[in-house]
């Protein structure tokens, strides 16, 4: 009976997560506070002026939006191959956070686009590919909701996630085939001035830490929620 109960292992997870969460929360708050303070107090970009401050939200969330999908793909593969019960919970819990970062990227980019390009939206390759990423996130969330049984939903979502991840580099590199207005990558190649790069990297760490905090919190809720659901179903059967 004990090995029947897949929650046995997640029970241990709950204890660990509970212990770690407060510290993670504090770390996130510290990184974000310092990063935003340093970013906003740094001198304005010579050509773009104040709107360029949007960068401190835009760039880290753009990077997180893609990184999280990568993490979900890894978790999906783990869930499919090793059938680790926490892997699909992690993927599911990541999706909403990733979609949030993607939406933030789209919004902040639009707001930034108005002063720099004179329009909120253009059908440019980078922008379009980020929009498609958003749709892939939503499709992933949708399939979790469409299939009632969480075990089947998990595997269906994992298949979709892996299929979608094959698509991602294609969308991403289409920048090179389609003309684009958008900034090329430069941040991580050391072409950015350190007065901007340091706060940016700090914020990136802060966003990442925020992701991990939210992830653990959401996974906890999911584990508990499933337990409650199972108890309710058991009662319905009795």
């Amino acid at each position: 009976m004990a090995n029947l109960h897949w929650l046995a292992n997640p029970g241990r997870f709950l204890r660990i997560a509970n212990a770690v969460l407060p510290y993670l929360g504090a770390l996130t708050a510290a990184l974000l506070a310092w990063g935003f303070f340093a970013g906003l107090s740094a001198p304005h970009d010579a050509t773009q002026g104040a709107p360029a401050k949007i960068m401190y939200v835009h760039v880290p969330s753009a990077i997180m939006s893609m990184a999280i999908f990568g993490a979900m793909a890894v978790a999906s593969a783990v869930a499919l191959i090793w059938k680790h019960p926490l892997a699909d919970i992690a993927a599911k819990a990541s999706a909403v956070i990733g979609a949030g970062f993607t939406a933030t990227t789209l919004l902040s980019g639009s707001l930034w686009g108005r002063p720099t390009w004179g329009t909120f939206w253009v059908w440019d390759a980078r922008l379009t590919s980020e929009l498609i990423l958003f749709f892939i996130y939503l499709g992933y969330i949708a399939i979790w909701q469409a299939i009632e049984d969480p075990n089947r939903a998990a595997r269906a979502a994992a298949i979709l996630c892996l299929a979608g991840s094959v698509n991602l580099p294609i969308i991403h590199y289409s920048v090179e085939w389609w003309n684009t207005l958008h900034q090329p990558a430069g941040l991580l190649q050391g072409r950015t001035d350190s007065s901007m790069a340091v706060p940016l990297l700090t914020l990136l760490a802060g966003f990442f830490s925020f992701y991990v905090t939210m992830l653990l919190w959401r996974m906890e809720r999911e584990v508990v929620g499933r337990k409650i659901r199972q108890l309710r179903l058991l009662r319905a059967q009795a």
């Binding site: 499919l80 498609i132 749709f135 892939i136 939503l138 499709g139 949708a142 399939i143 469409a146 299939i147 089947r152 595997r155 269906a156 298949i159 979709l160 892996l162 299929a163 979608g164 094959v166 698509n167 294609i170 969308i171 289409s174 085939w177 389609w178």
Partner: protein
């Protein structure tokens, strides 16, 4: 007849018999394309410019519209269980069904494309590339669509969900397909786009049968 061919033949025959499934698709294709001159106005230069893109978008929608035919009926009448137990590996069954889907949607749409391109005043010089691109791209639509169809097979009438899952996966084929034709019209070489389309097709051929078969298995539980 080999089991693989038998499955293709059965699905094609079903598509042709049942309520004219594939005629619906073709009619839809023609109707939607002819709607553009009505909606956009008779400006031929404008139509010529949007023509290749419109043909691609509508071909994509036509393929998507008929996707739920691929597994849903077999799931609901119990045939899918028997197909899953047949000696033909489920991956090959998926491939056969995707082939049947392409034969009844992608292929006719490709053959019809020049006629509709004519309606939209697309330059005749682009037709060979249009057809080549469609021959490479429309199988991708059927193959990639099979994943979406397999994932949503237990969800009754999951049409909207299906399109939500499948459209993002269709984007590369759509972009390269449309770009190939545009490049030709602009006097550039369509070769890189066609090569990318071909690569897309190879990846789809190699991966989608596995993904779709896995999705089907989980829906047979």
């Amino acid at each position: 007849m080999s089991p693989f061919l038998a499955v293709i033949a059965r699905d094609v025959r079903l598509a042709l018999r049942q309520g004219g499934g594939s005629y619906w698709t073709l009619l839809f294709f023609v109707l939607t394309v002819t709607l553009f001159p009505l909606g956009v106005g008779p400006d031929l230069a404008l139509l010529a410019r949007i023509g290749p893109g419109v043909l691609w978008v509508v071909a994509l929608l036509a393929a998507m519209l008929s996707l739920d035919r691929m597994f849903q009926a077999d799931y609901e009448d119990g045939s899918l269980e028997l197909l899953a137990l047949a000696p033909l590996p489920l991956e090959l069954t998926v491939l056969a069904k995707a082939a049947a889907h392409w034969l009844t949607t992608g292929l006719p749409v490709t053959l019809l494309a020049p006629a509709l391109g004519f309606l939209l005043a697309v330059d005749v010089t682009a037709y060979p590339i249009l057809i080549a691109a469609m021959l490479l791209g429309t199988p991708v639509l059927s193959l990639v669509g099979s994943i979406g169809a397999a994932l949503t097979v237990g969800v009754r009438r999951g049409g909207v969900l299906l399109s939500l899952l499948v459209i993002p996966l269709y984007v590369p084929a759509l972009i390269f397909g449309a770009l190939a034709v545009e490049a030709t019209l602009d006097g550039l070489s369509p070769r890189p786009h066609l090569l990318l389309l071909g690569a897309d097709l190879l990846v789809a051929l190699a991966l989608t049968p596995w993904a779709a078969a896995a999705a089907l298995r989980l829906n047979l539980e």
